[in-house]
């Protein structure tokens, strides 16, 4: 099954197990969501648990916070990550701080699901990758799905989390990747990265849809240059699996971080700083970030903007030749 189906299956299974779960967002009720992730849920579990909200992102998140405070488990959808910004105040000032500002008297374990990323000719407003903004906010966990298996595991963990989670779903590969997804419940623990390809010459780090570009680049440089690349899929950015990452870089002495989001202030910058702190004496080259440009992601020149496998390859070679 693909990512959509994996998410839908997970929701279906979890809804049946726990009647505290509710889900809502724009067009999420009868219509099943513009990407069909909540399809069938309203029919099966009722409008009270799966419904359409007015067109108001700050309302979606604010409302979800109240539901969660009172003991429901809301999984709200922001139709595109590009539209999360009206909810930014609710996320940063209320959701992220609820437990600490109330001295642990009130908590708001909300799951916010949102499709992110480019590659579908969405232009400025259907392609953004705003994860870095939330990583700079203590109190929220951030997970990045990259495959159907990951989707189920991460969504399940998010649902069971007692902390608020933003789950970013890579829209460009929503349907493109199909794989076997176990029927039974399983969780991918937050803070556990995956070393998808073991290697010894250079560490390549990514998440979401970028992970697949990274894997492709790794295979190609193995063929063309006999380079052995270790590819890491972080899966969750907060909490971050720093151990796996540093262990890898200490072994390879070189690192490339790839992400779609613009370069400046992107999460690659944070990873770069962490690697410098923890692996400094082992480094043979600076950590190279292969990312989108510091421009809004364009419609027509999208390919030129995105850090595709080709660009990642160049970055790998450059780092090894440093």
């Amino acid at each position: 099954m693909n990512i959509i189906q994996a998410l839908n299956l997970t929701l279906d299974q979890q809804f049946a197990k726990d009647d505290r779960l509710i889900t809502f967002g724009e067009d999420c009720g009868a219509f099943g969501g513009v990407f069909r992730v909540t399809e069938g849920l309203q029919k099966k579990f009722g409008e009270a648990r799966c419904f359409d909200t007015p067109l108001c992102e700050q309302g979606i998140v604010g409302f979800a916070i109240g539901c969660a405070q009172k003991g429901l488990k809301p999984i709200c959808e922001i139709q595109f990550a590009d539209y999360i910004f009206p909810a930014f105040d609710q996320i940063v000032n209320e959701l992220a701080k609820m437990r600490s500002r109330t001295g642990n008297q009130y908590t708001a374990p909300v799951v916010i699901r949102t499709p992110y990323g480019g590659g579908i000719h969405g232009g400025y407003y259907h392609s953004q990758s705003p994860e870095a903004l939330f990583l700079h906010t203590p109190g929220i966990k951030v997970a990045m799905i990259s495959s159907p298996k990951d989707a189920k595991g991460l969504l399940t963990s998010a649902i069971k989390s007692e902390d608020p989670v933003i789950l970013f779903e890579p829209k460009r590969i929503y349907r493109a990747i199909k794989e076997e997804v176990p029927e039974e419940e399983y969780e991918i623990p937050f803070g556990q990265a995956e070393v998808s390809r073991a290697g010894s010459d250079v560490t390549l780090v990514g998440w979401g849809a970028q992970h697949h570009q990274n894997m492709q680049a790794a295979e190609e440089v193995a063929e063309e240059y006999d380079l052995d690349v270790e590819v890491i899929n972080l899966r969750t950015l907060n909490p971050l699996d720093l151990e796996t990452l540093s262990e890898s870089v200490r072994k390879t002495a070189r690192c490339v971080v790839a992400h779609e989001a613009p370069k400046t202030g992107g999460f690659g910058a944070e990873l770069s700083a962490l690697i410098m702190e923890h692996c400094f004496l082992h480094l043979r080259a600076p950590v190279w970030r292969c990312t989108g440009l510091d421009v809004p992601i364009p419609h027509t020149l999208e390919e030129e903007y995105l850090p595709d496998a080709y660009k990642v390859k160049q970055a790998l070679v450059k780092t090894v030749e440093y």
Binding site: L281, L283, R284
Partner: protein
Amino acid sequence: MSEVVTVTLPDIGEGVVEGEVVEWLKSEGDPLTQDEPVVVVMTDKATVELPAPHPGILKKQYHKPGETALKDHPLYDIEVKERLEQKKQKKSQAPAPKKKIAKKTTGGILATPATRQLAKELGVNIEKISGTGKEGRITDQDVILFHAKPSKPSVLKTPTLHMKDDKEVPIVGVPHMMAEKMVESKTVVPHFSFFDQLDATRLIQLRDNVKPKAEKEGYTLTYMPFFIKALSCALKKNPNANSSVEPDASQLNIHQHHNIGVASSTKTGLVVFVIRDVQEKSLAQVIKEYNQMVLKMKEGKLTREDMIHSTITISNFGPLGGRWATPIINYPEVAILGVAKIRKEPIVKNDQVTICPRLNISWSFDHRVIDGSAAAKVSNDFIAMLENPAQIL
């Protein structure tokens, strides 16, 4: 038991650091009850009445109306009747532990963190290593080779002779280093010698012509600057003689810079100072620089920069006498030129015996780089320059 408490201007809020005293609601000597308003202060944000934190008598007002009071500075004194309860201890930051910070000056040295760590582990001072990597970077190999280096020649089987009444003089510092360098040079480089002699007539004439001018500018004019410049001209036609060989003889690095070292004898031993880039300097410049260096050397003020990176060396044993010598190459160079004193000698010219000032030159070459014909060529070119010295001006 009464006590005087100084009330400071409190933090009224949100970054306010000062306030103007507008009005004293109580005068000096007035009794104050707990929380009674004492003074009106105006800040950027608000005009506020400040209440007394303790009951007592207002003893002293520190500011008149219109004056500005500063936050945490005295505003007024209260004489209180009872001992006040201890204020909550303020957090005190621990003073930073005084550690001696060993300042390291390894800036300007190009090496990756991994290479630096390797050097540290091997106990090698990375500053001593010259890098062979990209842009002069020190590579791991440089570190390892440097570490492996003091390759003591394994030929030392014969023990040194010690006799009963020997005078034991320690060899330390520069002489010791020079001794080791010479052993190294002779061990690594297959030396071969080449001797020749040139007619110094025109050289002497040229020097005599140039001398007054030079002396007017304060320079002592010896023949050395002429030898230096002439050698550089010869090197232009014989670039291989201005090079270095890789230790495994896999590569010859031909240097574009003619950094000509001049070996001189000093109190502390043999010293080589370097005149750099002679290929682009005029004779006049060489004369000037040579003099400066000699002066520095005599005053003992030569710096490391003055003495490193020579690409070929000249040794003048002239003043002390002698005709021929076999100088030891200043490794890692590939050639060294020894010059003797100019002497008048009888020579045969046009089947006639005449007297002519002659200069003996003694070359040593690295035979891996310079063979017999190459040696002859460079020597002939050098001689040609000095026998027609107008070319070297």
